[in-house]
């Protein structure tokens, strides 16, 4: 017995001794991952030369229908047929789980030899870090030589987001629509209480109170007047509407970009926003557990169960088939949600952030020997009908053209539906459908939703594009942001949760300590660097 114990204990000590190697061993094991059997090897009959292999990252959302895998499905075959064969390229896909794209990409990049030829991320800090560490291929000359269609498709403005200190290290995907958020209210509750649609933040407060006191949904104390989470779609519209108008200099220097969004923590008005949230919370107008809801799952449930009176969300998120609105209508008879624009700033505008014109940062690692083929692949996607086909499928089976806009065919066959499950993740050069103009893009976006929501989606999209605040683009990447963004984003969310839940008499003191901690943990470094870069930009 005692000997057994001894043995156990040795293992234990060793484990504690070697905890540090957690990270290192991760790097080591990474080398041994991924080596898929090559089914297509030698199947290329037409050409005498051996085809070269092009490896491309692909997001895996774990939603492949039966018969398909993320690396072998309709579109991988279609691309192999239409791009691979004529160019004598064997296209292979390397799956990366969507939910841990940055972590997995770090591991892939560190593995050196096994890294795909085309990788991408949404996180500008990850892109900047790779570029700074010298791990990426300079794409400028390659684009000039092999990517004329791609260059034309993206345009100068979008391409400029992929530059690092003047060098084109990434190809940013183009967004088809820059609007982000709209707000939504239970119209049937308003009607029941004979209340008008609130037009300002103050009116909203009164409406929320009425929802709580008069309980139009007859929920018996379970009502959540304002649906809140700790995801940006819920708190950003509220917070940004409290930000006061500022000079250009303040906008550049006081904004903090953590990840792909700008955060107003240092801008005047931020504290007022928190104070408003604190008031709502302490009066029971926000869910007590909102700080636990990171992925909006709880909010979605509460909306579809008819508990929530008002909330902000990505403009089209609630309208999907079997989405929260669809389910709400099934659960609660007569429930009606209206898209509204309520939060108002000091200028009387419904200010809310919008997307930067770029989506994914598409990169080619320096170690890749297939950079030319990679650019050819992206250029091929941008040319002719290729992007359109991937995004919309087959005419007659997936869509029909109405006024040049593809409209989803109703009651599609299962085969046709399954075909499209990963179309968005294959069309990496674009976020959203590209039809030539914003108007058409928005229309197509609305038409992909269930028919009964078409009109409302259009309203919500209009709201999302109204009074938007542009992201701040600095001349060069802010190193402190690359370094501290993850930590500070956590702290920012913590500040929102703690300040909202604080007892009103403790608000001031907690606010002060938390901001101090934020500044000391990297916020000050970002502020200093942005001020410096702004000065450089002015003196030019």
């Amino acid at each position: 017995m005692f000997r057994n114990m001894k043995r156990k204990r040795y293992t234990g000590t060793k484990r504690s001794l070697l905890l540090l190697v957690l990270i290192c061993s991760l790097l080591f094991t990474a080398c041994s991952s991924k080596n898929e059997p090559n089914a297509a090897e030698g199947a290329n009959g037409g050409t005498s030369e051996k085809p070269v292999t092009l490896k491309i990252e692909v997001f895996d959302r774990g939603n492949s229908p039966a018969g398909y895998t993320i690396t072998d499905n309709y579109w991988t075959k279609w691309i192999g047929e239409n791009f691979g064969k004529p160019n004598n390229i064997d296209v292979k896909y390397v799956p990366v789980p969507r939910s841990e794209e940055v972590e997995k990409l770090n591991v892939l990049m560190a593995s050196g030899s096994d890294v795909p030829d085309i990788v991408f991320t949404y996180d500008p800090n990850t892109f900047n870090r790779y570029a700074k560490q010298g791990g990426l291929t300079d794409l400028g000359p390659l684009l000039d030589e092999h990517g004329p269609n791609l260059k034309q498709f993206l345009g100068e403005d979008v391409l400029s987001y992929g530059q690092f200190e003047g060098t084109q290290y990434a190809i940013p995907a183009k967004r088809s629509n820059l609007g982000k958020y709209a707000s939504f209210i239970r119209k049937d509750w308003l009607d029941k209480l004979s209340l008008p649609v609130p037009q300002t933040t103050d009116e909203l407060y009164e409406t929320l109170k009425a929802f709580k006191e008069k309980d139009p949904g007859e929920l018996g104390g379970q009502v959540i007047p304002l649906g809140m989470t700790i995801a940006s779609a819920q708190y950003e519209p509220l917070i940004w509407s409290f930000i006061k108008s500022v000079s250009e200099e303040e906008r550049y220097t006081l904004t903090q970009q953590l990840g792909s969004n700008d955060y107003p923590i240092l801008l005047p008005g931020f504290k007022d926003a928190l104070q408003f949230m604190n008031k709502l919370y302490n009066e029971g107008l926000i869910s007590k557990d909102f700080g636990l809801d990171k992925d909006k799952k709880k909010l979605g449930e509460d909306i579809s169960n008819g508990k929530v009176g008002f909330f902000s969300e990505d403009d089209i998120n609630i309208y999907y088939e079997n989405g929260s609105y669809d389910l709400l209508q099934k659960n609660v008879k007569g429930a009606e949600i209206a898209a509204v624009d309520v939060y108002t700033n000091d200028e009387g505008k419904h200010a809310k952030p919008k997307y930067a014109p770029n989506g994914l940062y598409i990169m080619i690692p320096k170690s890749s020997e297939r950079a030319v083929e990679a650019i050819k692949y992206l250029d091929w996607m941008a040319s002719g009908d290729n992007l359109f086909t991937i995004q919309n499928g087959i005419e007659g089976e997936n869509y029909t053209l109405v006024d040049d806009i593809p409209v989803a065919v109703e009651n599609q066959t299962e085969e046709a539906l399954n075909r499209m499950y990963n179309a968005g993740d294959m069309a990496i050069i674009s976020n959203g459908k590209q039809l030539g103009s914003l108007e058409k893009n928005l229309k197509a976006r609305a038409l992909q939703m269930p028919k009964q929501f078409h009109e409302q989606v259009a309203v919500a999209q209009q709201i999302a594009n109204a009074d938007t605040i542009d992201p701040v683009l600095m001349d060069r990447p802010i190193e402190a942001q690359t370094k501290y963004a993850t930590t500070l984003l956590d702290k920012f969310n913590e500040i929102i949760v703690k300040m909202t839940m604080a007892k009103p008499d403790q608000f001031e003191s907690i606010y002060e300590t938390m901001i101090k901690d934020y500044m000391a943990s990297g916020g000050q470094a970002i502020l200093d660097e942005r001020t410096e870069v702004y000065k450089e930009m002015q003196s030019k």
Binding site: L19, V21, L22, L292, T487
Partner: protein, 300 residues
């Protein structure tokens, strides 16, 4: 016996050791090569070897971070409280089980007590949020329907601490009894009988026979636990923790995850790991030394 004759006679015993030794060399000592990351400006496009040496610069940076001290404090605090609450629990449970006479009931309760050990923390986290949520958790729904105020088990830091500790006991206590129960089988039954004849009651027997019989095991386990004071599992604080209680739930392992895996600052993460390893070693040796002096029980 000459060395050759010795080897010829016992070579099988050494051959048996080859496999475990290989395991330790490959998976435990091999990765130590990576320790040098702590002293280099690690750039994974260059690899460990070609990254530049920076001396102790990364250590200075880590020791200057506020989050480092916060997470260090939380790690020590959570581990210390865990030691107070979770360490005695399996011991008490084991003694209770040992005293049971009905074998079927003993077996049944043992199995039920083990089960939580096999549930992953991610799932436990999900269950905890369903059960202890302030607004929709089962416990609070019950409390509120009985007319009590809802208790913020997960969002108030002191309440969260209690939730954290008790969930730990629930998960690990049953499993922990195995070692004690095994040790208990080693106690000579005659001692109990003799004590019974001499008039010792149940409590006296536990105090004078069972506990002294378990003493070596308790000491060994205590030393192991002390060695782990500075290191903490990642899953439990990460899954049960949340933004509202980050002041307590942010620990060294989540800190390493954030700066290492999430922000890609491997050098800093390695520094923290190395720091944990060194302090952990000091704790083990210290505890072992003290134990040797005080009780004559030790593991080295």
């Amino acid at each position: 016996m000459s060395a050759i004759a010795y080897l010829r006679r016992y070579w099988q015993l050494y051959a048996l050791l080859v496999l475990p030794l290989t395991y330790f060399i490959i998976f435990k000592y091999g990765p130590m090569y990576g320790i040098q990351i702590a002293f280099k400006d690690f750039n994974f496009f260059q690899g460990i070897h070609r990254s530049e040496w920076i001396g102790f610069e990364a250590f200075r940076e880590v020791f200057g971070m506020r989050d480092f001290y916060l997470t260090l404090r939380n790690t020590l605090m959570l581990n210390f409280l865990d030691l107070l609450v979770s360490f005695p629990a399996p011991l008490i449970l084991a003694i209770l089980l040992y005293e049971l006479k009905a074998v079927w009931f003993k077996k049944l309760s043992q199995t039920i007590l083990y089960i939580p050990h096999f549930i992953s923390w991610v799932i436990i986290g999900g269950i905890v949020y369903q059960v202890f949520g302030t607004e929709s958790g089962m416990v609070n729904n019950l409390l509120m329907s009985l007319g009590f105020e809802a208790v913020p088990f997960l969002t108030d830091k002191s309440d969260w601490l209690i939730t954290y500790l008790l969930v730990g006991v629930w998960q690990s206590a049953g499993w922990g009894t195995i070692i004690y129960l095994a040790a208990l089988t080693g106690i000579n039954k005659e001692l109990f009988e003799a004590a019974g004849i001499d008039g010792a009651g149940r409590l006296k027997r536990i105090w004078h026979i069972t506990l002294p019989g378990l003493k070596p095991t308790i000491v060994v386990l205590l030393i192991i636990n002390l060695g782990h004071m500075i290191s903490i599992g990642f899953e439990r604080p990460y899954v049960i923790g949340n933004l509202a209680v980050r002041e307590y739930s942010d620990v060294l392992s989540t800190f390493v995850y954030r700066i290492g895996i999430e922000s890609g600052q491997y050098t800093l993460a390695t520094v923290v790991g190395l720091f944990q390893a060194v302090v952990g070693l000091i704790f083990v040796l210290g505890a072992n030394y003290t134990s040797k002096k005080l009780t004559d029980e030790s593991i080295l």
